[in-house]
């Protein structure tokens, strides 16, 4: 009796939780440096294991409960492990969106079953009821919003901004419905239909809120939804009086909020303006899709010419963007860089904080291609170096190099910090066609006298350049 009672003791379980979230915190702290990050992630996973085991030791779980838990865990493992092991690095943003979504979905479902468990009467215990309703709303928004983000990133849904008529009004109305139903329940209504209404209204809100957001804004959306799931988990922790949920959920909520803020700053936009709809609201079409103001001519070049240009450079800066991810060109880019380095040419990579579809997307891709991380330069570090850069090689990046952000106050992206590619001596832009970026804005960089365009698929273009380099 005594030994079992000891590990089933509330204090023992709570002590295990303290160990668990300490490991989360230490693990996250170690994520601040590439050298310790792998270990940090493992520590956090160990913390999770401890928390789960401690919870399973708790009294009250009988045989049938364990059977159900086993079913859930086995199904989850059978789905989670293969998806995590097989996902391509280029598809990482949608994978994170999906994992985030199921977390939010779990919160919403737990809230629903807890509501049923109380026979629907939450009015007697507002300390339980309020966080439960909050968790239901945020969890449902996060689940559906993440699914839409996944669909957009995976190409199942159009990645461009979808305009919804009176979108803001509809969204506010949906939020009001969800909160209204929640208040009615807290005031004593025991209707399960009302609780389902909360989940449904929040679900529609999650869909409609993410649908209008364009692909380029996805870094902000994903980190917002990440914060949302964290907050919903923390709220669930308040409802269930579970310290592990409160602490872990809130840490994620806070870190997600910080990250969202950093992303929004990197685009010179407020979180609100991103979430209230893409660049569409600022009518970039009005600035002339024909590029009349920009004018100038575009000079096209060949892989052989680019190779010669690169061969006589001393410093080459590669500026990767989403196009590199789409073309899966990171390995070919690395091959080219190796060929250049063999000739004694210095190669650096300029990484804009919002290049790609999630924060740090380019870093992950280049790391996959074995690019040492100390060659990856953040925007503030590399911008001073473009002046002495002989050739900037822009691979599938567009808006993050647009000089209009510095020079043209009426441009929709004016004020957004950019990579000052136009300050380098020569610019080569690898691009599929002259189509504009996700923001739908003309890029005067392409018409610059120093710029030459190399049209075609980024991967085959880079491969051609590399083979030409070999022949020089």
């Amino acid at each position: 009796m005594t030994s079992i009672a000891f590990i089933q003791d509330v204090n023992f379980i709570n002590a295990s939780y303290v160990v668990a979230f300490s490991l989360f915190i230490v693990g996250l702290a170690k994520l601040t440096s590439p050298t310790t990050a792998v270990q940090g992630n493992k520590l956090a996973a160990l913390g999770m294991l401890i928390a789960v085991v401690a919870t399973l030791l708790a009294p009250g779980l009988d045989g049938s409960d364990f059977a159900l838990i086993a079913i859930g865990v086995i199904v989850g493992t059978a789905i989670g492990i293969p998806s995590a092991l097989n996902v391509k690095m280029t598809a990482m943003p949608q994978m994170v969106a999906l994992f985030n979504g199921v977390g939010g979905g779990a919160v919403a479902l737990i809230a629903w079953s807890e509501f049923r468990g109380l026979g629907g009467d939450l009015s007697g215990d507002l300390e339980f009821g309020i966080p439960l309703v909050f968790a239901a709303i945020i969890g449902s928004i996060s689940f559906w919003g993440s699914n839409i983000a996944f669909g957009k990133l995976q190409g199942l849904i159009s990645g461009s901004p979808v305009k919804i008529p009176a979108g803001l009004f509809v969204n506010i109305a949906l939020l009001a419905v969800a909160i209204g139903a929640g208040v009615a329940i807290l005031l004593g209504s025991e209707s399960e239909g009302l609780f389902v209404l909360i989940l449904v209204a929040a679900a529609v809100l999650g869909n409609l809120a993410v649908l209008p957001i364009g692909g380029a804004d996805m870094p902000v959306v994903i980190s917002t939804l990440n914060a949302f799931t964290g907050l919903s988990a923390a709220a669930m922790g308040l409802a269930l009086d579970n310290y592990a949920l409160i602490v872990a959920g809130m840490i994620v909520g806070a870190s997600g909020t910080i990250l969202t803020d950093q992303m929004a700053k990197a685009m010179n936009r407020s979180i609100g303006s991103v979430l209230l709809g893409g660049f569409g609201g600022e009518a970039p079409a009005a600035s002339g899709p024909d590029g009349s103001e920009t004018g100038g001519t575009v000079r096209s070049t060949s892989a052989a010419d680019v190779a010669i240009l690169l061969a006589y450079a001393r410093l080459v800066v590669v500026v990767p963007g989403y196009g590199m991810a789409v073309a899966q060109a990171q390995h070919t880019v690395r091959e080219m860089a190796k060929a250049l380095e063999k000739k004694g040419i210095e190669v650096k990579y300029a990484i804009h904080p919002v290049a790609g579809r999630m924060p740090g997307h380019m870093n992950v891709l280049l790391a996959e291609a074995d690019v040492p991380y100390d060659q990856l330069k953040e925007m503030d570090d590399i911008n001073g170096e473009f002046g002495r850069t002989d050739v900037s090689l822009v691979i599938g990046a567009n808006d993050v190099t647009n000089p209009d952000a510095r020079m043209k106050p009426d441009s929709p992206i004016y004020g957004m910090p950019i990579l000052n590619v136009d300050e380098s001596k020569q610019v080569i832009v690898l691009k599929r066609s002259m189509a504009s970026g996700f923001a739908g804005i003309e890029n005067p960089l392409f018409y610059n006298d120093k710029t030459q365009m190399l049209f075609g698929d980024a991967k085959s273009s880079v491969a051609e350049i590399t083979s030409e380099l070999g022949q020089l």
Binding site: D9, M48, A58, V102, R116, A233, A254, L259, G384, E385
Partner: protein, 128 residues
Amino acid sequence: MSSVDPAAGWTAYAETAAETAAETGSPLLTELAILVLAAFVGFQVISKVPNTLHTPLMSGTNAIHGIVLLGGLVAIAHADGVLSRFLLVVAIAFGTINVIGGFLVTDRMLSMFKRKPEPAAPAKDADA
């Protein structure tokens, strides 16, 4: 160390936790205090992460909010009825995907970040 009747389960757990807190004040206030402190820890820890690691960071924090799995484990002990149990099994499956997938994918990404002691690589940070 109070002993807990196993049959009473998580309700007893919650009550005991509440009682413990009640000795010093409202359990809600205790929990809110924990909540606020956790928020500050989150802000502090994450502010120092370089852009390079933003994707693994997101995916790592993503895995950590898979802690909702515990919510499913706690709730299933006192769930009645087929629908409630079904909802919780799905929730547990979701939570498991979140935790296992999240940590694995983060590990895969992080193991790619390495500094290469390659002779071909030019001297690092020549600009410093």
